[in-house]
């Protein structure tokens, strides 16, 4: 993670070239406004952020500070009003909606709150599904191997309602990694977990991010798990600063 530990509302990228950064996430001067007229809110305020391949970064901040907006823009789910976002050197912000969907499919993995697994699918099918709409030539990881990696091989045939919160998150992490993403975006992964399970999940995320050399950004309220992160940022009123 490269950023100025400045006191201003801006976080900036270090100037020197690092190939690992090119493989990860780069956000430059990203601003996003939400609402209309007098109700306009700066969800993201000139945000600069770089997360290198294999790096595990955490973003903390109060509710409504812009953490989810940052994830949405970083993952191509939303388009900022200004600024640029690249993932593994591929520009996201100028891409069409269809191209952003393809980039997301090929480059980004999402881990959602509570796993957000599809209720009709077994744990194994959750990992098989992305290959059904994969881009031509995409090489996915072996779903069963990944389930084994996250300790869920024994429950591959279980559906989400048959799994505990921690197990759902493990499956969600495996699903996010099955496409071999360059960027992993993690949204409050411990929101519904107790402290022990939270530590377990975040340790797993850190381990997987490094093992698979995936740039990982985790949004969290849980300060107990920050010790496992390579860098920590704070979001306040749309502005990002290093802690």
């Amino acid at each position: 993670m490269n950023a100025h530990p400045e006191t201003s509302r801006k976080t900036t990228v270090r100037g020197d070239h690092d190939p690992a950064q090119e493989d990860g996430l780069v956000m430059r001067d990203v601003t996003m406004l939400l609402g209309d007229g007098d109700d306009t809110v700066r969800a993201l305020d000139s945000v600069h952020l770089t997360v290198a391949a294999g790096e595990f970064a955490a973003i903390v901040g109060p509710s409504g500070s812009g953490k989810s907006s940052l994830l949405a823009v970083a993952g191509g789910l939303a388009v900022p009003d200004s600024g640029a976002v690249t993932i593994a050197g591929r520009p996201m912000t100028k891409a069409s909606r269809r191209a952003r969907t393809a980039l997301r499919r090929d480059l980004v993995g999402f881990v959602f709150q509570s796993g957000n697994l599809l209720p009709a699918l077994t744990a194994l099918d959750q990992l098989r599904l992305p290959s059904r709409f994969a881009s031509p030539g995409a090489v996915h990881r072996d779903p069963m191997k990944l389930l084994t990696e996250v300790g869920m091989a024994g429950k591959a045939d279980r559906r989400p309602h048959q799994l505990s919160g921690g197990e759902r998150q493990r499956v969600g992490i495996a699903r996010a990694l099955v496409t071999g993403p360059r960027l992993l975006l993690v949204d409050e992964p411990t929101a519904a977990l107790d402290q022990a399970r939270s530590r377990d999940i975040v340790q797993m995320l850190a381990r997987e991010a490094r093992r698979h050399r995936v740039a990982t950004v985790m949004v969290t309220h849980d300060t107990e798990v920050l010790q496992y992160c390579d860098s920590v940022y704070e979001m306040m009123d749309g502005a990002l600063s290093k802690r």
Binding site: S68, L71, A72, G75, L77, A78, R98, T101, A102, R104, R105, D106, V108, F110, F112, Q113, S114, N116, L118, P119, A120, L121, D125, R128, L129, P130, R132, F133, R159, R175, T179, D187, E188, A191
Partner: protein, 372 residues
């Protein structure tokens, strides 16, 4: 289909309920189709089996009552015979009567007067063809009703006695009444109201209902101009059968409404289903699932549901139809049921497709945060 099939299995209670509604609609559709076909058969099977391409009626006669009101003269037959493309033309008479048989059967008959030996003279399954002046050849359904070869049938009020000399192989009915073919001269006497031994006016000996025409590429308008008639093709003439248009249009209207109901029910179900899955769809889109993939998957799901439900419903409908008693005009026609089923599934799929297009509007960003 990966997701579609798994969702169908996972939410089987909901899909079964929806499938049951579609299946019930399919049952109703089969019963209506059978009733419709049965009414058509009862109404015009006698006409359908006439070996003609068109019928020339009197000019200016209302098209829905041509068989009962049309009166033309025999010389029009010669006029039609001379028309280009006409291979055969013969006089044809039609009258509805009440009668009773010597074996005590009271029966209504549609008397079709034809010249014995002409191309209109029917082929019999049992007995002998038309020849004797008082001989009649009756529909198989009249035989089912109790008329037997050799029976004497007495025309009510006139007292004219006719003898059953032959029975046709199939159902020949007209306006829900059994057809009896008889020699044209006898028909003319009955049509003129002349009882046994009473003289038949010369004018009546020249009167017929229509000219039956068979030919290829016949210019009907030119023939009508020359003969002073008004032609209908054979299928157009069905509308002149008593009650035919009213019955078929009523049933067609009910069937159209049934198709619309199917489309609306399918649309409503898949609208609710799509709204319920909104968060899952947002997750799928966030994972990079293309809109096209999700639409195809949703449509495949709808197609499986509608096809399976229609198959069950059609099966049940055919079973119920087979159990319908003979008193109800009911006929199962494979082609009619196949077309109706295709329409049911097609329109249901259209309704579902309109609902499923909501997928395109799902915002993948709602997969983030606590938006559940």
């Amino acid at each position: 289909m990966f997701l579609a099939i798994r969702e169908l299995h996972f939410a089987r209670a909901r899909f079964t309920l929806m499938g049951a509604v579609i299946a019930l609609i399919a049952v109703l559709m089969v019963l209506l189709s059978g009733l419709s076909q049965g009414l058509v058969r009862d109404g015009v099977s006698g006409l359908q089996q006439l070996p003609v391409t068109s019928l020339a009626f009197g000019h200016g006669v209302a098209s829905d009552s041509a068989f009962s009101r049309s009166v033309i003269t025999l010389d029009t037959v010669d006029s039609w015979s001379r028309q280009s493309g006409v291979t055969q033309a013969a006089p044809f008479g039609s009258t509805l009567i009440n009668a009773s048989s010597s074996s005590g059967v009271e029966i209504d008959l549609a008397l079709f007067g034809v010249e014995p030996g002409s191309f209109l003279s029917p082929k019999v399954a049992t007995g002998s063809p038309l020849a004797a002046p008082d001989g009649i050849v009756v529909s198989s359904t009249a035989a089912d009703a109790g008329l037997r070869l050799g029976d004497t049938v007495t025309v009510d009020r006139l007292g004219t006695r006719l003898t059953v000399v032959g029975v046709l192989a199939d159902q020949h009915t007209f306006g829900h009444v059994d057809v009896a073919y008889l020699p044209l001269a006898t028909w003319q006497a009955i049509h003129a109201g002349a009882g046994p031994g009473e003289p038949v006016p010369d004018r009546a000996r020249q009167e017929i209902t229509a000219v039956a025409v068979r030919g290829d590429g016949v210019d009907l308008a030119a023939g009508d101009d020359a003969a002073g008639t008004e032609s209908m093709t054979l299928s157009e003439s069905y509308g002149a059968s008593p009650g035919y248009t009213a019955e078929t249009s009523t049933l067609t209207l009910i069937q159209v409404f049934l198709y619309l109901i199917c489309a609306l029910v399918a649309g409503a179900f898949f609208t609710v289903w799509t709204i319920q899955r909104k968060h899952e769809l947002a997750v799928l889109r966030a994972l990079g699932a293309p809109t096209g993939y999700l639409l195809r998957d949703g449509l495949a799901q709808a197609l499986v549901l509608l096809s399976a439900a229609a198959a069950v419903g059609v099966g049940a409908g055919v079973g119920l139809g087979a159990a319908v008693g003979e008193g109800v005009p009911f006929a199962l026609d494979v082609q009619a049921i196949a077309v109706a089923t295709a329409l049911l599934v097609g329109l249901g799929l259209t309704g579902a497709a309109v609902a499923i297009t909501r997928i395109a509007a799902v915002d993948p960003a709602t997969a983030l945060g606590g938006n559940r």
